[in-house]
Symmetry: C2
Subunit: 326 residues, 2 copies
C-alpha cells in the first residue's frame, strides 16, 4: 500500500483491495466519526430478520462521503496537499471534501451547478470550501474542474471513480462487522457504485461468503440494468427519483468491481422509499435522506426473504426540512 | 438497597440516593439501550463550549422514560409482578411502562385521556399495554388509576414521583459521564422533575462540584418560579408550550431534591425551542422532540456563558411528523 500512497493519489488506476480498505480504516481513524450501529425491534419484525444499521447519516458532514474524502486527502503528499483538491459535485461529496480538506488545512475547490440550492452552497462554504459555479451539464462541470485543476494544480478527487474514495467508503462496513459480529448479508445503496464497491470489498475480505446486495430506486435503476446486461448502461429517460443522492451512473472501475462482487441489486419504488424514510424518522428517531432509506426500503420490500442477520448502510441524512415527502 | 427492593416498590417514600442510581444502572443494564453520546462542531461553535449530548431520543420507546419504568418493573417482587403495573400518562411514560412490563411478561394498565391521539394510543397497545380511557382531567385520571389498582392489584408507577423512576432516569447521566469523562456542567429538561432529580443525584454523586442546570419552556416555567419562591407553584394560565412533554409540575419529592441539588433553571422561548430542534434535525440528523430540544435551546440562549465542557440530555424523540413546527 505504501507505494500507492506517496505522491500517488492521482496515479492509482486499478481496483482497490481489501488491504486498501484496512489501510484506509487505520488512516482515517480519529479523523472521522465511528458511527453507531442501531437496531429496532419494529424494523426486525417487519423485515423478518435481525437488521443492524450502520448510521452514516450521523457521520461528520452528514454522510459516509467523509470517509472516502478524508482517505483521499490524507493520501496526498505534502506538495500535492499544498495545491489542494478539486471536485465537481452537487451533493454530499462536495461538503465532505471541503470538510476533509479544511481539517488538513488545505484548499478545496468545489465545482457546483449554478442551480444548486443555497443551502448546499452554504454548507460547502461553511466547511471552508471555495465554490465555483458552472452550467448544470456534465460536460460543463467536467470542463470547469479541468480548468480549476489547470489553474491551481489541485488534485481532483472524483466522488466515486477513485480507489481511495472507494477504500474509504468500505471502512463503514469494516466497523459494522467489528461491532455487530458475523452477518449473513449486507445491503448498501448504489449510485455511482463507490459505496457499494467499498462495501463489497470490505465485506468479502472480512467475512468470505457474506451476501452483498445493492439497493437502487426503480426510477434510477441503471446499475441493476447494467449488471443484468453485462455492460454499462446509462440512466433511462423519464421522471427522476426523490433519492437525489443516487443519480450518478457506474464508472468502468465500479462496474467491474460490482460485477465481480455483488450478488444482486434490489430496486424499490418511490412509495417504498417514503415508507422506509418515515419508519426511520418515526421509530428510530434518525434523520435519513431518501438515498439512505433506499436499502431499508429494499429490506422491507421482501419481508421474510432475507437471511437471519443483515447489515445495512444508512448512507446519509442531508435533507431539506422545508421539502419533506411527508 | 436490597431491603428497598424486596416487595417494596410501593413503599419507598423518601428521596433516592446516588447509591440507588448506581443500583438502578446495574439492574437495567441489558434491558435498556446504552445510547450514544453525540457531538457537533457547529453546535460547539454556536454555544462556545464543548457540548456532549446523551441521545435518549434513541432509547427504546423513544425516550429516557424506559430507564425509570424498567427499574420500577424490575424492582417488583414476583407476587407484585404477577398483578402488573398501572399509570396515568398521555405521553412517553405510558409507552415506556408498557414496553418495560411486556419485557418482563407482566400486565400494564395505562390510563389515558379520551382525547389522546390515535398514534399515542396505538404505540402503547403496540407494546402490549392495556389502554383505559377516561376524561381529560387530572382528577378523572387519578380516580381511574385508583380504580384500576383496586380491581387488578397492580402497582402504580408514577411517571416521576417515584424513587425507582427517579433513580432510573439518573442512569443516563452515569453513562454520559462514563463515556464523556469529566464535565463542568450538565443540563436536562424539567417537567415533573424526575429526570432533573435523577440527573442531579447521578452528577453530584459521580462528580462532586459539577454544575447542574434545568431547562424549561418560558410558557411552562413553574419549576423556575417554584425554586425561586421556595415553594411549589402551579403552572400559570395562558398559552401552553409546544414542548408537550414538559407540562407536568413538581411533586413535593422532586421539589425537595431540586431545591437541594440544582444550581439554576434556564427558561427558553418557543422560537428558541424551534431553532434548537431544527439544528438537531438538520445538523445532527437526530429526531428530537420539542421537550428534548429545550436543554439545547438553553445552551444556545446564552452563548459564551457556559463552562468549557457541558453535558446535555436530549430526553426524547417522539414527534408527530404530520405536525412539525417547521
Amino acid at each position: 500500500m505504501k507505494d500507492r500512497v506517496a505522491g500517488a493519489a492521482d496515479s492509482f488506476t486499478g481496483s482497490p483491495s481489501f488491504g486498501d480498505v484496512v489501510a484506509a480504516a487505520a488512516r482515517i481513524a480519529g479523523h472521522v466519526r465511528r458511527t453507531p450501529v442501531m437496531t429496532s425491534r419494529t424494523l426486525d419484525e417487519m423485515v423478518g430478520s435481525e437488521v443492524l444499521m450502520k448510521c452514516e447519516n450521523l457521520q461528520g458532514g452528514g454522510a459516509f462521503k467523509l470517509r472516502g474524502a478524508t482517505n483521499a486527502v490524507l493520501c496526498l503528499n505534502d506538495d500535492q496537499a499544498r495545491r489542494g483538491v478539486a471536485a465537481h459535485s452537487s451533493g454530499n461529496h462536495a461538503g465532505a471534501l471541503a470538510l476533509a480538506a479544511s481539517r488538513r488545512g488545505i484548499p478545496a475547490h468545489l465545482v457546483m451547478p449554478s442551480d444548486v440550492t443555497a443551502a448546499k452552497k452554504a454548507a460547502v462554504e461553511g466547511y471552508g470550501g471555495r465554490v465555483v459555479l458552472c452550467e448544470a451539464t456534465l460536460a460543463a462541470r467536467e470542463a470547469t474542474v479541468a480548468q480549476v485543476v489547470a489553474e491551481t494544480g489541485a488534485t481532483e478527487v472524483h466522488p466515486y471513480d477513485n480507489p481511495w474514495v472507494i477504500a474509504g467508503a468500505g471502512t463503514a462496513t469494516l466497523e459494522l462487522l467489528a461491532e455487530a459480529g458475523p452477518l449473513d448479508g449486507v445491503v448498501a445503496p448504489v449510485s455511482g457504485g463507490g459505496l457499494l464497491s467499498g462495501t463489497a470489498l470490505a465485506a468479502h475480505g472480512a467475512q468470505p461468503g457474506i451476501r452483498v446486495v445493492g439497493a437502487e430506486p426503480l426510477l434510477a435503476d441503471d446499475a441493476a440494468r447494467s449488471l443484468a446486461a453485462g455492460r454499462r448502461l446509462d440512466a433511462g429517460p423519464g421522471p427522476t427519483t426523490m433519492a437525489d443522492g443516487l443519480l450518478a451512473t457506474l464508472s468502468d472501475r465500479t462496474f467491474a468491481i460490482l460485477r465481480d462482487t455483488v450478488d444482486e441489486i434490489v430496486t424499490v419504488t418511490e412509495d417504498q422509499i417514503v415508507e422506509a424514510m418515515r419508519l426511520l424518522w418515526e421509530r428510530m428517531k434518525l434523520v435519513v435522506e431518501p438515498a439512505g432509506a433506499v436499502p431499508i426500503a429494499a429490506l422491507l420490500a421482501r419481508p421474510g426473504a432475507w437471511p437471519p442477520r443483515v447489515g445495512v448502510i444508512a448512507s446519509g441524512g442531508n435533507v431539506d426540512l422545508d421539502r419533506l415527502p411527508f
